[in-house]
């Protein structure tokens, strides 16, 4: 779903990313870890086309972004959802207008159709009661949930999360992680997650979502339940390059002192 080949970019003479190779398959979750300034956010913005790489090949959902114009990229972006740090909800629009932004933009949708779609998405993130509220009335966690609902409109097959749990209390952060796990395991959404919250990153790689006999969602842990495989991998970035790529066990077992210091 996401394929990067020899991607490099520099700003003002400083090399931000250098010959990046990355592949993220369908329904897979790739977690980007690394210190501040390592190029994680730039890499994420390159994948959605918000920043253009100086060189390299970028293929997202079958579209080669590297050769596209800004207008052509707009159409591809509609197939990819992005959840920004702090949510980035539009201040002047209500929750309903934020979530249905694309529908209002396209035009041709009746108010009833919009209401139905918005309520469906808000119920997925358990935020139906906020439909008529303004973003300023929402807490940090609520903003993130509404931002996820907004990103889900149009059923994107790829979701990009920028620090989805930063600044949240552990309970709210856990609820956001539950949503991410549900989207990955039940909806088959490919995710690219930039985070500096290690507990959230480890949660995503040790928990999975399943449906029980009554069609209710249950979140299971690989440490306590019989869960054999979780589609999550890690990439550690340092100084613009990928220092490590692998699953949680490989990450914990890596003998690189920087990685050991970073994850402890």
């Amino acid at each position: 779903m996401i394929h990067l080949e020899d991607v490099s970019i520099s700003f003002g003479g400083e090399q931000i990313l250098r010959d990046i190779h990355m592949d993220v398959g369908p329904a897979e979750c790739m977690i980007l870890l690394g210190p501040s300034g390592s190029g994680k956010s730039t890499l994420m913005k390159i994948v959605i086309g918000l920043v253009r790489a100086d060189s390299g090949r970028i293929v997202v959902a079958g579209h080669e972004l590297s050769s596209m114009t800004e207008n052509e990229m707009m159409a591809v972006r509609q197939k990819v959802g992005m959840v920004f740090q702090e949510g980035a909800l539009f201040d002047s629009l209500s929750v309903r207008e934020n979530v249905a932004y694309r529908l209002y933009d396209e035009g041709g949708w009746s108010e009833e159709e919009i209401e139905e779609r918005v309520l469906q998405l808000l119920s997925f993130v358990d935020m139906q009661h906020t439909i008529d509220m303004m973003p300023a009335e929402l807490s940090g966690g609520m903003r993130r949930r509404v931002a996820i609902a907004r990103a889900l409109l149009g059923n994107p097959r790829i979701l990009i999360y920028d620090e989805p749990t930063s600044g949240l209390d552990p309970i709210t952060a856990r609820s956001i992680c539950d949503l991410m796990v549900k989207l990955r395991d039940l909806e088959g959404v490919t995710s690219l997650v930039v985070t500096s919250d290690l507990s959230a990153a480890f949660f995503l790689s040790t928990y999975t979502a399943r449906l029980d006999e009554e069609n209710e969602t249950v979140i299971l842990s690989s440490e306590t339940d019989d869960v054999c495989y979780i589609h999550t991998r890690f990439s550690v970035l340092k100084d613009g390059g990928i220092l490590f790529e692998g699953n949680l066990n490989e990450l914990k077992g890596a003998d690189n002192p920087f990685i050991q210091e970073f994850i402890t």
Binding site: I48, E70, M74, V80, M82, Q85, F90, D91
Partner: protein, 254 residues
């Protein structure tokens, strides 16, 4: 150091020109965001009415007061209406309206777009497949360009009323003398020139506001900086362009 400043200045001019060209080109591309344009017209036009009205009224009143002292020495106080009308329609109305709009609208646009940049709302808009220049810049540009001439006309009209009240109660002139001298002195060319310049001023105020807003970086402090820069740059550009527009209008009408 000097060369770097020149290069940085040229880059700014290039970026500003590209943004302006895109804003104009968007008028011929879909989607057109008509509703957003009308919303902006309401904010810019109706919202600025009070300050423009007050500016025009007191400028006209001061013009009448000040000019009467000079005209009296020539025994020409009766020409107060002419001086007020010509000064307002040709020069003060368009320039003062544009400067007031630079303070109110230019700063508002820069701070609104700047806040959207620093809170990632512009990136979110792009990520949702919307071109921010189409959704945010073109409606603001169109609304300001259409509203500025109308607000200038309001400024001119209330300036004439301010001058008339001073002429009537302070200078003890007859109303009919003031108004007939005022209307006779304004030519067709004055009106065309006086209402064409605001189109350009409106474009400058809105585009400088949008450009400075979209170029914001550095958090809330950056928003403050962009807002100040937008007002200063738009005001200076209005005054400089006024000179060249006057030259052009004089060339074309002579």
């Amino acid at each position: 150091m000097f060369a770097n400043t020149i290069v940085a200045g040229l880059i700014q001019i290039q970026k500003f020109s590209l943004l302006s060209a895109r804003a104009i080109a968007n008028l011929f591309r879909r989607p057109r965001y008509i509703r957003d344009t009308f919303e902006q017209m309401d904010i810019i036009g109706v919202g600025s009415l009070t300050i423009i009205l007050l500016t025009g009224f007191f400028t006209g009143a001061v013009l009448a007061l000040q000019s009467a002292a000079s005209l009296r020495s020539f025994g020409a106080v009766g020409l107060t209406g002419q001086l007020v009308a010509v000064s307002l329609v040709r020069e003060l109305g368009p320039v003062l309206t544009a400067l007031m709009l630079a303070g109110r609208i230019g700063s508002g646009i820069a701070s609104e777009l700047g806040s959207m940049v620093v809170t990632d709302q512009i990136n979110a808009m792009r990520a949702l497949g919307t071109d921010p220049t189409k959704k945010l810049v073109t409606p603001r540009m169109m609304a300001t360009v259409t509203m500025t001439p109308l607000l200038t006309a309001v400024c001119d009209f209330f300036g004439l009323i301010g001058g008339w009240l001073v002429a009537l109660y302070e200078l003890k002139l007859r109303s009919s003398l003031y108004w007939s001298v005022a209307f006779d002195s304004i030519s067709y060319d004055d009106l065309i020139g006086g209402l064409t310049k605001p189109l350009v001023f409106g474009f400058i105020v809105s585009m400088v506001g949008c450009y400075k807003g979209l170029e914001t970086w550095g958090g809330t402090q950056g928003v403050g900086k962009s807002t100040t820069q937008a007002v200063v740059a738009a005001s200076i550009m209005v005054i400089i362009s006024d000179f060249f527009l006057n030259k052009l209008i004089i060339e074309l009408t002579s």
